[in-house]
Symmetry: D2
Subunit: 298 residues, 4 copies
């Protein structure tokens, strides 16, 4: 289907800064290049991993454009454009479309919990201003809103709302989604430790920052599922489970940047108040990567 | 291994009463017979489904003995013997062993949350008084105690504590258990809606009351997993998912008894204050069973 | 009102055992005597503090009778008679009435979450078999059932159901109860750390094990409230707050028994698997009591 | 103390928009004037009630300046300047100081949960750039971070961090704060339904949007506490409790604006996706206000 452009491993890059807290675009492009060449099936800048909420408009636009330049059509792109206000969400969605994004991802960000009517109007307003597909993102932990399957059904009636990303961390919700929304609706797993369970449940893809560190294992897991080989998938999952749990427990931007430093690629600096992992945490990550046979620069 | 006697579908019978709230042993035996002949791999009386905590000692003993008589060694048996006090737990564990049970299941029941030391001493005391294997049961929702993997590791050092049943409803705990305890430890899933996810994660078996109603589907799911056919397992899981969710949402004893009535086998009465499903709930269950092509007596 | 026999500080004794795990009745009577003479306004045996769920029928009956003998009508008594089955609840309620209890306390114990209809029938059945007042006890943490104010309203329509004890630990529920049930309904606080907030909200009394250790402070707090002296009540509350938090955090039976040992009265032994506080915890309790100027036997 | 400039009722205005979603400054000033003349002890623009996170920099600055002009030194002011990034927080704090704010309020906003070290550095960085006092705001529900009393202690060592606002909705945390931080630390209640419990616990003030609707009742409650008249305070609290619960349950901006419309003052429009209460909710609010004898324009 034209408007469901994603399957497999959708990779989320970080946003690297220099020491003055300005975006380091050359390093960003290097990281994106590595995600593409190591086999990820799509690139998703300005996600949680990309600390999108901490960026100003200029920074968001620079990251969007740099992604398009570097990916250059080799794989589809999914740009995060969520914002507290409808007006700003439209602005960034239109920017992404004009820049060449394949699709946009929108979570109903909220400081004040939104009603279903407010959420519907929000997506309706944005969808009517762009023509590329929208992935609805449900993540109660960060948005403060847990969208019901009835609400998701309603949102999927909007013509270019065609995909759902579920990150509540409960595999039963994925079962329920697929049951309620039907097999035709594309749903994506956004919870790394549920990678095996979500693919078993029939997820179309896995939205993850892990390919910044262990792309081979992530893609091999997807391939085993495609080959209907559960035993192999299980084995691959248990191999990478410690890494998946670590990056979620310590925070994706911090742990991915630390891992990129350890792998010699470079993770870049942070924007305050966010800061790097402490030494013990870096040591723990180093041990996990070594166990997986990655070469660590000492 | 001799002391890990279970795999596959471990079926939990209800405890039927007559109108005077006395146990209906003939009906119980009929229900057990059906569980055995429809292919369940083990029978587990006096579980939550069997409303064990509501029974007095005489009733527990009658159910234990009736199970042994009816099963007659055709499949292994797992008898629930949990009790708030160590003294009564020992009593019932010894009774079960003497009656011929293959193994006993023990959850650390608590009114006052137990410390790790208290739990270890409890299992130690019981284990030293019997020689059949013990399955440790973790279910924070009913016991009030969530046993850590460290504690479970310690309990598994007791020679005849050989199995773990996990019912917290979070598949990530199963991943963690297998990771921490090693592949040799037998772990069992006690959460019906997680049947697919738990088998995908490598569970040895599924402790469930569902075979009272849909034994063919339950066993087919296990067989698909054994055949490493994830697509078939997924399809079978989605077929039975509504039934699995219903019996958990409405309470196992109530929903299984209602289903046994609908199927013409008879579920029996309840012990107060527990009571039957209401009419709307029965109607809902009837529709689920009809969708699965079961013949319902109208 | 004749059927609201309690106000002020309702004291909960522990149940002491000897080294063979038999009830130590002489020690129990000594503890009860101290509760009465130190000014508690009522005595409530067989509560959570009295580890009622761990006792067999004989033990419950012995404790009930010993309480009546020792109190000898000097203050009213409130006997816990809750049980999973309706039949056993009736049995113990009738025993308490015959023994001379002023009232009984009943929590809707549940292994399987009860429906509102099941709870109503349970209270109706018990209430119709006794003529003394019943205090309904809401404590979702131990019973697994959180009774709504609508359900409580319905229960209070049963003639001898006249009091509500609220232990959810949320003062807003007490506000709501009083608002919904009206000022005439007697409500009691069962959460020690909420003593000040609950009295401020208008609670008729405080159900507590603390008078085993610090009766003077507990009663002084109630008196300050009676005198409408908020500043004094606040000061008294902050004085005893550490003790109140400690006994809740460590478990009432364990911490009260340890305190009784420290005070030279004697707390008695436990029934397995329950066990004593560890040394560090006892040291912490000793320091709290010393700060409150209690003499500790070293 | 010079650097603890607040006590009593600290009133939070809304931010009214016109139909084109531009700020309606004349209406804002009218609302602020009413808060001052009806007796509030301080004015706090750009709080949650003022939908600060939805405003761009220009809008925030306009609201800050309009507040200073309208209040004109009659009562102290507390301006919200929280932001996800340290750089923007400093910017807005400096703007507020220059505009004449008495103090600023800062919550550690987070998309990615901050470590204690990150939070300390954030407050340190901001505090070193301004000379007016800072109120630390703890509200895990909106910030995603629950600051421990140890962390709060550390933050209070920063010279111009002098006040704590607690909005977790648990009165036990206020007890604990006062106990751990000492009586000299000024703590403020930010949870409307806890107004009585928090004042009973010794809170210095009440941060609330309620004075937009019922200023007389809010101030009378504070006065009763000052007079040590618990019975009167309790009575006043129960009078206003339904209103306090309503505005929290329905969201402060929505319910306060609806109330201002009902009272004939005018609440203004919203910024999308936020929207007005529905008709049933407005009707409910109307009934609550009528019960409190407010004149409602029909």
């Amino acid at each position: 289907m034209n408007n469901i452009p994603f399957k497999g491993v959708i990779a989320y890059p970080v946003t690297p800064f220099d020491q003055n807290e300005n975006i380091d675009l050359p390093l960003f492009k290097k990281q994106v290049e590595r995600l593409v060449t190591s086999g990820s099936h799509a690139i998703a800048p300005l996600g949680s991993t990309g600390v999108m909420p901490y960026l100003n408009d200029t920074e968001k636009e620079a990251i969007t454009e740099a992604t398009m330049q570097q990916v250059a059509g080799r794989v589809p792109t999914l740009v995060g454009v969520s914002n507290l206000t409808t007006e700003r969400t439209i602005y960034h969605a239109q920017f992404a479309e004009k820049a060449g994004a394949t699709a946009v991802m929108i979570i109903p960000m909220s400081y004040w919990k939104l009603s279903d009517q407010e959420i519907i109007k929000h997506y309706d307003s944005v969808a009517s201003k762009i023509s590329i597909p929208i992935m609805v993102y449900n993540n109660p932990a960060t948005s403060g809103v847990d969208m019901s399957s009835n609400l998701l059904k309603r949102l999927l009636e909007i013509p270019n709302v065609t995909m759902v990303k579920e990150s509540s961390g409960d595999v039963q919700r994925m079962h329920y989604l697929r049951r309620e929304l039907g097999e035709d609706v594309a749903f994506y797993n956004g919870s790394n430790p549920l990678a095996l369970a979500a693919f078993s449940a029939g997820a179309n893809g896995w939205c993850t920052a892990a390919p910044n560190l262990i792309p081979e294992l992530n893609i091999a897991l997807y391939n085993a599922i495609q080959e209907n080989d559960l035993q192999k998938a299980r084995e691959l999952f248990y191999q990478q489970m410690d890494l998946l749990k670590f990056i979620v427990a310590k925070g994706l931007p911090r742990s991915i940047k630390a891992g990129l430093d350890l792998l010699g690629i470079g993770g870049g600096h942070f924007k305050s108040p966010l800061n790097a992992l402490n030494e013990n945490e870096v040591e723990e990550l180093k041990n996990i990567l070594k166990t997986l046979n990655y070469n660590i620069e000492e």
